[in-house]
Symmetry: D2
Subunit: 389 residues, 4 copies
Amino acid sequence: MTLGVGLVGSAFMGRAHSQAWRSVAAFFDLPVTPVMAAIAGRDPVRTEAAARRLGWASSETDWRRLLERDDIHIIDICTPGDSHAEIAIAALDAGKHVICEKPLANTVEEAEAMAAAAAKAAQSGVRAMVAFNYRRVPAVALARRFVEQGRLGTIHHVRGQYLQDWIVDPAFPLVWRLQKDRAGSGALGDIGAHIIDTAQFVVGDLLAGVSGMTETFVKERPLAETSSGLTGGTTSAGTGPVTVDDAALFTGRFRGGALGSFEATRFASGRKNALRLEVNGSDGSLFFDFEAMNDLWFHDHTLPAAEGGFRRIIVTEADHPYAGAWWPPGHGLGYEHSFVHEVRDFLVAVAEGVDPPPSFADGLAVQQVLAAVEASAASDSRYVTVRDR
Amino acid sequence: MTLGVGLVGSAFMGRAHSQAWRSVAAFFDLPVTPVMAAIAGRDPVRTEAAARRLGWASSETDWRRLLERDDIHIIDICTPGDSHAEIAIAALDAGKHVICEKPLANTVEEAEAMAAAAAKAAQSGVRAMVAFNYRRVPAVALARRFVEQGRLGTIHHVRGQYLQDWIVDPAFPLVWRLQKDRAGSGALGDIGAHIIDTAQFVVGDLLAGVSGMTETFVKERPLAETSSGLTGGTTSAGTGPVTVDDAALFTGRFRGGALGSFEATRFASGRKNALRLEVNGSDGSLFFDFEAMNDLWFHDHTLPAAEGGFRRIIVTEADHPYAGAWWPPGHGLGYEHSFVHEVRDFLVAVAEGVDPPPSFADGLAVQQVLAAVEASAASDSRYVTVRDR
Amino acid sequence: MTLGVGLVGSAFMGRAHSQAWRSVAAFFDLPVTPVMAAIAGRDPVRTEAAARRLGWASSETDWRRLLERDDIHIIDICTPGDSHAEIAIAALDAGKHVICEKPLANTVEEAEAMAAAAAKAAQSGVRAMVAFNYRRVPAVALARRFVEQGRLGTIHHVRGQYLQDWIVDPAFPLVWRLQKDRAGSGALGDIGAHIIDTAQFVVGDLLAGVSGMTETFVKERPLAETSSGLTGGTTSAGTGPVTVDDAALFTGRFRGGALGSFEATRFASGRKNALRLEVNGSDGSLFFDFEAMNDLWFHDHTLPAAEGGFRRIIVTEADHPYAGAWWPPGHGLGYEHSFVHEVRDFLVAVAEGVDPPPSFADGLAVQQVLAAVEASAASDSRYVTVRDR
Amino acid sequence: MTLGVGLVGSAFMGRAHSQAWRSVAAFFDLPVTPVMAAIAGRDPVRTEAAARRLGWASSETDWRRLLERDDIHIIDICTPGDSHAEIAIAALDAGKHVICEKPLANTVEEAEAMAAAAAKAAQSGVRAMVAFNYRRVPAVALARRFVEQGRLGTIHHVRGQYLQDWIVDPAFPLVWRLQKDRAGSGALGDIGAHIIDTAQFVVGDLLAGVSGMTETFVKERPLAETSSGLTGGTTSAGTGPVTVDDAALFTGRFRGGALGSFEATRFASGRKNALRLEVNGSDGSLFFDFEAMNDLWFHDHTLPAAEGGFRRIIVTEADHPYAGAWWPPGHGLGYEHSFVHEVRDFLVAVAEGVDPPPSFADGLAVQQVLAAVEASAASDSRYVTVRDR
């Protein structure tokens, strides 16, 4: 059986997802075969070029066209957050399975509507998934397995960081990711969302409440003439206000009693994509840093102290999550492999008629934490309970 | 010229300071020579044994005797925090120079009294210093030098952690460090104090306000029959309440605008003595971890991106702080060397008639941060301004 | 313009090359577009399955058929070493461009014939390349750039290791890679060839002579019923002799005066794919380990000693070799990306009418070093001059 | 009981040993108490100054005087290698216990005479030890323990490196360590001796034969006016020939069948004191690097592959060799602690009437390896059997 895929958006995420769709069948045994049917974008020339380059059979200039096509069964949403709700809800209503990039939406309200739409669609066998790809980095999936197996015992500490440095220079232009109306929030929603989801996934628990603090270090930036999300393009003479946070810090408590300490920033000079997670439990600890994405560090606290210590597990063994599909041990994977694993799991879930995690409800849970952090930051860092979904 | 030293306390810190006094003259050119005159402790047999073992010429069973002796010019206080104020103030009043272990005191009020006594004593040339030894780990001193030289530019982030794991086991007994009346506070005052001072020292700035959260994971522990600070000794049948925090998290803002993120815990399985500091500035970043204490990691953000990256500086070069006095490059130093450097700087300052940093006022500044963290933790993590000294 | 590709072999290397051909046009601007025309293998069913899975338009059961097809312009040889010479020479004679997996051949004689065929073919514009993919790991290419720019000064030391552990277990079966008639040699030719080429490439110099030592730790192994190169498959009752080396050590001298120290082994427990290279020069040093393949460690010896140290360059910046085509900084690449870069450079060279390095002559140079190592090992480690090409 | 110590030599090693004698009794329970009786040196003024600074009760200008004194029972030899034999043999003949710095001697002949003298002295209860201090770095001692306990299984590979960079600059003067008549050999005897002994100690096996290669990169250097071993001092106008090796590489076979790969160099820019040892066995592997001297990396190959990996054991636990005597876990030790452990073990052995390893015979065994390396290097790297002792 084949399933047609229609992708919306051709920038950074569009390229990553395209590579995933193009590669997945070569490495994984799939119950259904994806067909790269169409890519949608506003500019006809650029979209057609993207189709050719990225391997899509056709292009559309309106994402709504994808919903009308019978040869398309899956909508993959790779646009900025302000359009997620509209596209996803329409797609689900049209009976298409949906993968949606993170953060699920720019507001809790949108996310709630999306989760509701997904819940309703699920009743007719239509599936929805939010694309927190870091869950499917093999080392992160292995971390989850260790926690699930009880290797960490009672968890006391969860430490999440996502450190980048791409806007340290005040001359970096005002790209869309720095504008609240497009991006929803700054470091918090963009990369903070990732560490929240990754932490909640690995620990298997949810944040109960948080105390937050945010900052915009550079408050005015040059206007970008051609703005992409991550690179500057050319800049014009004027400047404009940065309307999102440059950095967000928060502490929190998990429902199970663990303490959480989180930080998301785009101002950590020298840290390029340091998504880090450390978990300390009574029986063991784990550490992960995406800048060395094939490694998981594990400390087994049940060993005699004389032989304890963090061990570097190179997560490329046949018995490791996802790794067996690729290369022999020690032959590391890269960033985009997480997307290959994502669409693989999505296709398997669709074929099996189950919901592929993380669900839109999981995406909403992250959104609620983001909202609680912002609410706390807006009221003197006062502890704010994360709203129950 | 020689200066007689009298040390109070013969446990962990007493041993470390003794080794410092015993070694300093062999490695550093000193303007004055310290003489290890006497050690004071309550138990006459144990104190006399400590004197012999640690190299003190005599022993006293009452620290007040040290203050009366003319051959003693320096009082080195290595007792738990609840006795610091009494001993230090009496010593300063008696015209003795004072080195006092950290935290300066168990309360802000005591610390204020001590700072006042030190200020008064300074007018008659009597010197006081609080023993935040980590300032004098060569890598930390080098970090300070980099910041001072402007190598980091505008500082945006300060990230401090002090992670230990010695009480993860609920069967670990109720030693004095877990009792509020003796220790003042738990992880916060014991090791949190170190990262606060280290961070404020390296950055050259003070925390303006903080938002805190504390937790006691294990609330009841076996009573210790013979209690030392860090090891269990024998335990008796009963249990007692842990009256201090096991872990403390706080975020904060520095006066200069940097964000601070701090964590002190004794529940980080596998982390033994991980005092870590990362500083991110517009022109560079620094990272230090005491578990690899001879290394300072420096990223020069002014280099072309293609050749940037954190470099591991092994801080054992002749041009590095303190290191030239010891061994050739690459021959690392250990924990107690920081104390050797501490007494060296103390002796030089005394000889030169200047105040050796960190002063009691610096110690008070740390105490005020600790108090603000506790106040914030007690009121829903609300942001609390650190009181001005 | 398009160029048809025909690939021979569908095992480990066949899969890696297929992924390269499938991906290259999506990430790189190419002067010619590759078309995945056909894959050849002996077993018709398996080859056809491979064609479908790996994305080849057709399959052939005899590689000679590829040479006859007009729609095929490039032959990509991914078979064991014993068939390289025959296929490559025939392909070149047939006017097809050739990429050939390493080692170029199983003997110097074969390699010489191949180099001669390539030299002759070059006169009619037919190109040949040996697939030492590690040259095109961005960190290795950056290392070469540093040496080329003179950042290392006079080179004194070259230290190459390739450490694996996949046959430590004596129960691991006698796969073809452990049989001399198929594989030519063991660790030496398989992975030693990679470090020789990588070292000679980065340093820009050739080994003048070597002193070698080889060992076969496990001399008899269970016979493999279905033998692939790297995994055991099922085993039968009997055992057979291991006819290649398990490990090879050699020291050497480069023409420019540097000393070389090399080691290739499949018995380094815990080392999975540790291709490592360290180069020490008068002005700087470099270190690379494939187990952390996105990092290059660089020490700038011209800096003041107080700020020197090995820096970890995460080789994912836009200005780094190849990296700009992929993802933002800090988003690491994986093993197979080196093959994408390889076919990219091959296609560019073909389009430009120049020879894509490494040439068959470079492959021969490696073969000559391998032969010299074996000759030395066979005569009491006596220093053997590497034959001039 | 007390034992008087007389030390010969007051430079680098003299300072390190002095600190050991000064500190040992404060940290270890000793069956005998050392008394720092006298230090001997040629220059009366400098020696007396050294005595005062380093804590020796008296000074002598002729080492022979130490042998005549009844209050001296131990002779500690910290001079260059050319005087070891004379002093040690005389001291043993005089009934003094002897600790002698490494390498034991400058020639095999001298070393044989010393080993014979030690064997003879042992019959009258006089003890001799060669000061290979790295054996007593806790991480190295732990490595030995792991091998002894069989945690590594059958050993296949031993990889030793000692990398320094202090003479990379051709302007560095011709200090005594670069002169064959004083130093015996260069990198080989100075630091190569350390890795040979460390490797043979950890593995518990001896090198059976070696194939060597040496090089002197800088053949002429400025004359040093005041020459110490490691730093340049002032230089005069002229130059002189370097008569020792700058670097030495050798491969070898252990009696038990393991392959050895060794390198000693003073030309590895950026490597300061990188004494490294890796051992690979069928059941596990170990890695140590003195530049992170408190860490031992251990891979347990008997674990499932999915959770294997090199773990960083911070060797500061109470159950680790020597570490319990010092500080709590995670509080690292430094270079000179290895000497404290050395004199501690020496004193215990003397008190117990047993021979403290490494014996002079062990020192001779190292010397024989050095000689075999030199012999091999002198005859085209031909494999040379290490002479039996």
